[in-house]
Structures are given as C-alpha cells and as structure tokens.
C-alpha cells in the first residue's frame, strides 16, 4: 500500500517538474521580439475580423450531455464487469446477466430514441 502511493507521487513530481523545467528553459533560451503582426490573432494572413468571443451551436452541448450519461452508465458497468466471473462461479450468473441486460437495455432504448429523433445527425 505504501509502496504504490510513493511511486505514484514520485512519478507525478518528476513529470510536473520536467514539464515546468522545459517550459521555463524555453523562456530563458528563446529571444523576445514582440512585433506588431504578432499582436494579432492568426487568420491565415488576413486582417483579423471580430474576436473569438462568440456563441456556438447548442449541438455541442448535446454531445457533452450524452457523454456524461453514458459515462455514468459505464461507471455502473465497472463493478459488474469485474465481479461477473465470481457471480458465474457462485451460480448467480444468469441472474446478474439478466439484471445487467435490463440495465443496458433501458439505456439502449434511450440511445435508440435520440438516434431516431435525429440527435446523432451532425448535419
């Protein structure tokens, strides 16, 4: 138990330290010549028009919600998946299989619903 968290911490510390050092080294070694054209956003050589602070389509929001819902579904699948063999060995296999089939089935209905309604069309 002690072993694992010390190694993890060391790795985290080294990775963070390495990242910081590399980024700082660049600041030390690189030149600094702020010229006028660098102050604009890059727009393939044209004069920048407007700024990047504008709203976006709601579709992206739907993707994020779908993601969260299915991520939580996967979270419920984790303990079931890791235990399934034990349940089979204990003779509870069929019961647990049906249980999870119902669980996945209910979500599959949801997926079918949004699919049918066209929420998965990124037209």
């Amino acid at each position: 138990m002690n072993e694992s968290y010390v190694s993890l911490l060391v790795l985290a510390a080294v990775a963070l330290g390495l990242g910081t050092v590399i980024l700082m080294l660049n600041g030390l070694l690189g030149p600094s010549k702020p010229t006028a054209s660098k102050l604009d956003t890059f727009e393939t050589g044209n004069e920048p028009e407007g700024d990047a602070r504008q709203r976006f389509s709601i579709r992206f929001y739907l993707v994020a919600i779908l993601f969260i819902l299915f991520d939580i579904e996967v979270v419920f699948l984790f303990p079931w998946a890791v235990l399934f063999k034990d349940y089979v060995a204990a003779g509870l296999g069929t019961f647990m299989f049906v249980e999870m089939a119902v669980f996945v089935g209910i979500l599959a209905i949801g997926l079918a619903y949004v699919w049918r309604k066209g929420a998965l069309e990124w037209d």
Binding site: F60, P79, L83, Y113, V114
Partner: protein
C-alpha cells in the same frame, strides 16, 4: 500518511475557496478540478481506491469538462468577469460564509474531540464495492438506469429548442455566424 492526508485536505479546501472567489469562470473551474483531484487523493489514502478512480473519471473527467464546455459555448468573455465581480460584493457572501464557519467549527470540534480513526487499515478493494452495490443496492442500480434514460430524453428535448432556433447548418458553425 497523516501528513499526506493533511496536505491533500489543505489543497482541497484552498482550491474550493478559490472556486468561489475567482471571477473568471474557466479559472474557477480549473481550481475545482484540482480540488476534486485532492479529494480523490484523500479517498485513496484512506483506503478507497475505487472511489478515488471514480471521482477522477466522473467528476474531474466528465462533469467538469461539461462545465468548461458550457462556459466555452456561452463564451461571454470580459462581460462575465465584470458580472462575477459585481456578485462578489460582501453583502452577497457574508451570510453564507458565516453559516459555513459555524459548520466548520462543528466539524473541527468533532474531529478533535471524538476518537475518529483516520488511518483505517482496511482497504476496500474494487470487488467489495461491487458486491455491495450489486447486492443490497441492486434495485437502486436498475432505478439509476431509468434516471439516466430520463436524463437522455430530457437533454435531447432541452437541446432541441435551441438547435431549431439557431438553424441546422452545422455542428461547428463559424464564429462569425454566431447568434
């Protein structure tokens, strides 16, 4: 072990304070992610690695991304910072802070007076969590799937209204075409 716990706890509390006090939405959310990370570390230290991993996957990896995503989609820029700043005047936060302090004192008294065992020597393996979840709470798991289904349908209908209003010309409309 104890030192680790207190370090993680201080990080968690400090980050959470910054979440509330920060005026920039995305910066506040980043503090929130770090705070969740600290809480996951605490879970790991007190012997609950499965919960620690889920904390990272669901909260830090999923729900926070959704928040940042929404902040990006609304994309208010400087006005929202000004608005946040106006909300953070003392009148707004003195009351809740005082009440939270009362709670904090209570927790402090409990921690130092009671014989709370911090270092639990038992380590809850992922399988044990599953045995409990899929044993006594099996029905709750099935009900959770209903809840997720409701969320799925609800999210679609909430998202649709906005989608119709803004037209259907594409998943990634150019910024110039924004409403």
């Amino acid at each position: 072990m104890n030192v680790m716990f207190y370090v993680a706890a201080v990080v968690a509390v400090a980050c959470t304070v910054r979440v509330v006090t920060h005026v920039n939405g995305v910066h506040a959310l980043l503090y929130f992610v770090v705070s969740l990370f600290a809480v996951a570390t605490i879970f790991y230290l007190i012997g609950a690695p499965f919960v620690a991993a889920l904390e990272l996957i669901v909260y830090a990896g999923a729900i926070m991304v959704l928040f940042i995503f929404v902040v990006m989609l609304l994309n208010r820029g400087p006005q929202s910072v000004a608005q946040e700043r106006s909300w953070l005047n003392p009148r707004a936060w003195v009351g809740p802070t005082a009440l939270s302090l009362v709670l904090a004192v209570e927790v402090g008294i409990l921690l130092f007076a009671g014989d709370l065992e911090l270092e639990t020597q038992t380590r809850v393996a992922p399988k044990e969590v599953g045995i409990t979840l899929l044993g006594p709470y099996l029905l709750a798991v099935e009900i959770a799937s209903m809840l997720l289904l409701a969320g799925l349908v609800g999210a679609y209908h909430l998202g649709r209204e906005g989608g119709r209003e803004g037209g259907r010309e594409g998943a990634h409309r150019e910024p110039g075409a924004g409403r």
